[in-house]
């Protein structure tokens, strides 16, 4: 495997909630190779968005290390951080809040060019036209305000903005969640196509296992800030090893299978010593409640954090 473009080691992000500290992301490690897409799947409160924001420098890192292209960027601030803007970009979930309604499209796009330094007006105009063409929007869009565009078109604009400085890594935070199915398919195809042409690297964050399976080469499953399992997209999405991922897959509507639901989870985010999924897990045993399972490598690729993984894998093979 080539040297990873993004390498995250043991990342922890904590927020202060009244007296105690709450870990939104706890000990997460991941790596993305050039041209690769890593999918991150989780439900609300899993820390997937915080993970993306920490890599973008928008969330405070309390522990661990983030390296980009071999360089430690964990705590970069000010000018040094801003110079990274040319390399790491983002497409947010909400196409309505992610574009400034008071700025024309060309002003928004021109602004994201700043990271590459000042450009003469004519050159900037050409780059804006090219970027709009890349996302299949007419050049006339440049002079209009975001309000004139539909949700799907706005998401194209957000992608154009992210591409302006020529980044190598784009973080897509629920980039298609707010869109209708047919528009979602168009945007997903666009993202795949751009990746091919521009050799982009994606960290693709989502809650829909099917969308992430289509987009990602490898998938990482988060629950309450911790990695439950990761591995090749087809393995994680089709034959998940971790009971939590299995529950996610079973719950997806239209899947047919409908196992008995565990009771609603106790809504306390205080750190418990054991596995974060223990309270809802159908395969829970004594040890799950007292010690946090380590990530161990799995036979069909990737790693799984489950005390009972060896037995469960054996059961599955025999059945």
């Amino acid at each position: 495997m080539t040297a990873p473009l993004l390498d995250v080691q043991d990342l922890t992000v904590e927020y202060r909630a009244r007296r105690h500290r709450v870990a939104a992301v706890s000990g997460v490690s991941l790596a993305i190779a050039p041209g690769e897409t890593l999918g991150v799947v989780g439900e609300s409160g899993s820390g997937k968005t915080t993970l993306g924001r920490a890599i973008l420098g928008l969330a405070p890192v309390s522990g661990g290390q983030i390296s980009y292209d071999g360089r430690d960027i964990t705590r970069l601030r000010g000018r040094a951080r801003r110079s990274l803007a040319a390399d790491i970009q983002v497409v947010f979930q909400d196409p309505y809040s992610s574009l400034n309604p008071a700025m024309t499209v060309s002003a928004t796009l021109a602004e994201s060019l700043r990271a590459r330094g000042a450009l003469p007006g004519r050159e900037a105009a050409r780059r804006i036209r090219d970027a709009l063409e890349q996302v299949a929007l007419p050049a006339a869009a440049a002079g209009r305000y975001p309000a004139a565009f539909s949700g799907g078109q706005r998401q194209r604009l957000a992608i154009a903005r992210a591409l302006m400085p020529g980044p190598r890594l784009v973080i897509c935070d629920e980039a298609v969640t707010a869109l209708d199915v047919s528009v979602q398919a168009q945007i997903l195809n666009l993202l795949r196509d751009l990746q091919q042409r521009l050799l982009l690297c994606y960290l693709f964050i989502g809650h829909d296992l099917d969308v992430v399976r289509f987009m990602a080469h490898r998938v990482l499953v988060l629950y309450r800030g911790q990695v439950m399992e990761h591995g090749p997209a087809s393995v994680v999405a089709r034959r998940p090893r971790h009971p939590y991922t299995q529950a996610l897959l079973a719950a997806a509507p239209g899947s047919g299978a409908r196992p008995a639901r565990p009771a609603a989870p106790a809504d306390s985010l205080t750190d418990q010593p054991g596995c974060p999924f223990a309270a809802r897990c159908p395969a829970v045993t004594g040890i799950c409640r007292v010690s946090r399972p380590p990530l161990v490598s799995a036979s069909d690729g990737g790693e799984v954090a489950c005390h009972r993984y060896p037995e469960l894998a054996l059961c599955r093979r025999n059945s």
Binding site: E43, S182, R192, A251, A252, A264
Partner: protein, 630 residues
């Protein structure tokens, strides 16, 4: 500017303001008399040919004095506004944008500032500085800073959390530039309104000061001192006070009107046309009713429903000729993308159409009774009673200031004459029916103490309070996590089995429709394009059983259908046309890969293609077997 002219109040205010300012500036040339020329023979004259606005007790011409007196009044307002905005806007921006200690320090200073008595301090300043009005006005400007800081800060806080500010940070935009490019322009309207308030306040304040003897030195005129003088001759000549007070009142009114209009216009430019189009209450019209009757056995029957909105004084349809039936114990899914009109259909049934939309034609029959366009008490009895509604955002649908118990008890007592105690008991039963663990505890909770899934269960419990026979669920699980979504679906299915409830689910999610519904009604651009039992649309190999190309393409666009290693999803080219831009012929024909010339000839009727199946496609017309891919 042209937009401003289309708003009569704002345009008139601007013109009056400009006239006042220009007239005051040009006073030496415009004024018919010198402001100090006294003529005791003509004292306290009313308005007339010689003196348009009459004279004061020394016989001086009021019009001339108003023109000259406007200068000190307007200039002092300008000074106060400049001082207040010059300090208040940067302070508020920094506090709101930086947060942390800068915010805490600023807000503590603001709290102190708000406690100071402005008038007393200005008077102290005046006495210390020997009656120098300029210094007193600067002091006044500073005293008006704290409320402005609070308003600017809270507006800046709201903008700071917008995603586009994060996007600018990621783009390497320095903080100072973010404040100027992204935060400040969004606050323009707020600041403008505040400036007009400060200007008005200072105008009134200087009048007050003049009344107390601080102001333009006599005989120099100012609006304030003229009002003070007029009040002394109030008994002999009330007109004087009308003239001097009137000009102050007029200026203050115009300032407010103008600022409000400009604020509205800046917002309208960012949010598109909608906010500048006024929504009129639609006139009640005779609703055309189609002839065909509802089939026997249908609990709800919608026939030929057409809903229109007003756009540029034209009625534009958002729903066109929609018919559907729901039997007791049946779940029907109304499937479509945004802009298909599915929500308008659902809202028509409960009589809660929004945004000036109205039923133009059609008939809604519930349990044999025509309920089309029902209003008033009859509509309220039906809504929440026989027909219940649950919304997409469970949290937004619950009043945050009300505990769950009383909230549900209110719903129970709306529909049944029961004692408070009996209502409480019923609330616990409802919560139990919605399978909430520990109903007693939930009844004591406020909505924010519940998770999203629990809140949706509470919404279901509330919907059940009126013992409904039809439940309309608008995207009931779209805001929920997948595992919670599965729980809500299971709950709705269980309730239906127990009570024989009919359910209309509005959704864009095929997965939800597959899990929950017996029949699917697919909408595109305001029309029903296909209706079929869910098992015949979903689950069949390659969705070949869908008769309409739109349904087939929509099903195929779902990434769940993509095989592993697929690099491209099948897409529908183009976008759904906006209401008013629908083709006269097949609405889908411009995007349809199978479109033939026969598709663009004229409107395509919805026709039966098999038992319980209908399609609005010319290609499936006349064919008993649905046309599809093998």
């Amino acid at each position: 500017m042209t937009a401003l002219l289309r708003r009569p109040a704002g345009a008139a205010a601007l013109i009056v303001l400009l006239l006042i300012i220009l007239a005051c500036a040009a006073a030496p040339w415009l004024a018919p008399y010198h402001p100090d020329t006294a003529n005791l023979n003509d004292a306290l004259a009313g308005p007339g040919a010689a003196h348009w606005l009459g004279t004061d007790e020394l016989g001086r011409d009021i019009l001339s004095r108003l023109l000259y007196g406007g200068r000190p009044a307007l200039l002092s307002s300008l000074l106060v506004v400049a001082v207040t905005l010059g300090i208040g806007v940067p302070a508020g921006l920094l506090a709101g944008f930086l947060g942390g200690w800068a915010d805490r320090l600023t807000m503590q200073l603001v709290d102190v500032g708000l406690a100071l008595p402005a008038m007393v301090i200005v008077l102290v300043v005046l006495s210390v500085f020997g009656g120098k009005l300029t210094i007193a006005l600067i002091a006044l400007g500073i005293l008006l800073v704290p409320p402005l800081v609070r308003i600017v800060r809270s507006a800046a806080l709201a903008v700071r959390s917008e995603l586009y500010v994060d996007a600018a940070r990621v783009s390497g935009v320095p903080p100072a530039r973010i404040v100027f490019r992204h935060v400040l322009p969004r606050l323009r309207g707020t600041i403008l309104v505040q400036a007009s308030i400060v200007a008005a306040l200072s105008l009134l304040f200087t009048t007050g000061l003049a009344y107390l003897g601080f102001g333009a030195t006599p005989p120099n005129p100012s609006w304030g001192s003229m009002t003070a003088e007029a009040s002394q001759t109030l008994a002999q000549s009330p007109w004087l006070l009308v003239a001097s007070g009137g000009i102050i009142g007029l200026t203050v009114l115009c300032l407010g009107l103008f600022a409000d209009t400009v604020r509205d216009l800046t917002v309208a430019r960012w949010t598109g046309e909608q906010s500048s189009v006024r929504i009129f209450a639609p006139p009640r019209a005779k609703i055309r009713t189609p002839a065909d009757e509802a089939p026997a056995g249908a609990l709800l029957s919608v026939r030929g429903l057409t809903v229109t909105i007003q756009q540029n004084a034209r009625a534009v349809p958002v729903v066109q000729d929609v018919s559907l039936d729901i039997r007791a114990g049946e779940t029907v899914g109304l499937v479509g993308e945004s802009g298909s009109g599915k929500t308008s259909v659902a809202r028509s049934v409960i009589g809660l159409l929004r945004g000036g939309a109205r039923i133009e034609a059609g008939r809604i029959v519930f349990d044999g009774v025509d309920v089309t366009g029902l209003t008033g008490a009859a509509a309220r009895r039906l809504r929440g009673g026989q027909i219940a509604f649950i919304a997409q955002e469970p949290m937004a649908a619950l009043d945050p200031t009300c505990r769950i118990g009383p909230l549900l008890a209110q719903a129970v007592r709306c529909h049944q004459q029961v004692s408070a105690r009996e209502a409480r008991q019923q609330v616990l039963d409802l919560l139990r029916q919605a399978q909430l663990p520990d109903p007693e505890r939930v009844a004591r909770c406020y909505p924010h103490q519940l998770s999203g899934g629990m809140a949706q269960r509470v919404a279901v419990a509330r919907a059940l309070a009126g013992r409904p026979r039809l439940l309309i669920a608008d995207e009931p699980t779209a805001a929920l996590d997948v595992t919670v979504q599965a729980e809500i679906i299971a709950l709705l299915r269980g309730l239906q089995e127990q009570t024989g409830l009919a359910i209309l689910v509005v959704s864009h999610d095929w997965g939800v429709v597959a899990e929950l519904c017996h029949r699917a009604v697919v909408m595109y651009a305001g029309q029903v394009v296909e209706e079929a039992p869910v098992t015949e649309l979903i689950g069949a190999p390659n969705h070949g059983r869908a008769a309409h190309p739109y349904t087939r393409l929509l099903l195929a666009a779902n990434p769940a259908q993509a095989p592993d290693g697929a690099t491209e999803l099948p897409v529908i080219p183009g976008t759904i046309p906006a209401p008013g831009e629908w083709p006269a012929a097949c609405h889908f024909s411009p995007r349809c890969p199978q479109a033939a010339t026969s598709c663009t000839v004229g409107p395509v009727p919805l026709h039966d293609i098999a038992a319980a199946r209908r399609s609005r496609c010319v290609l499936s017309a006349g064919a008993a077997e649905p046309v599809g891919q093998p």
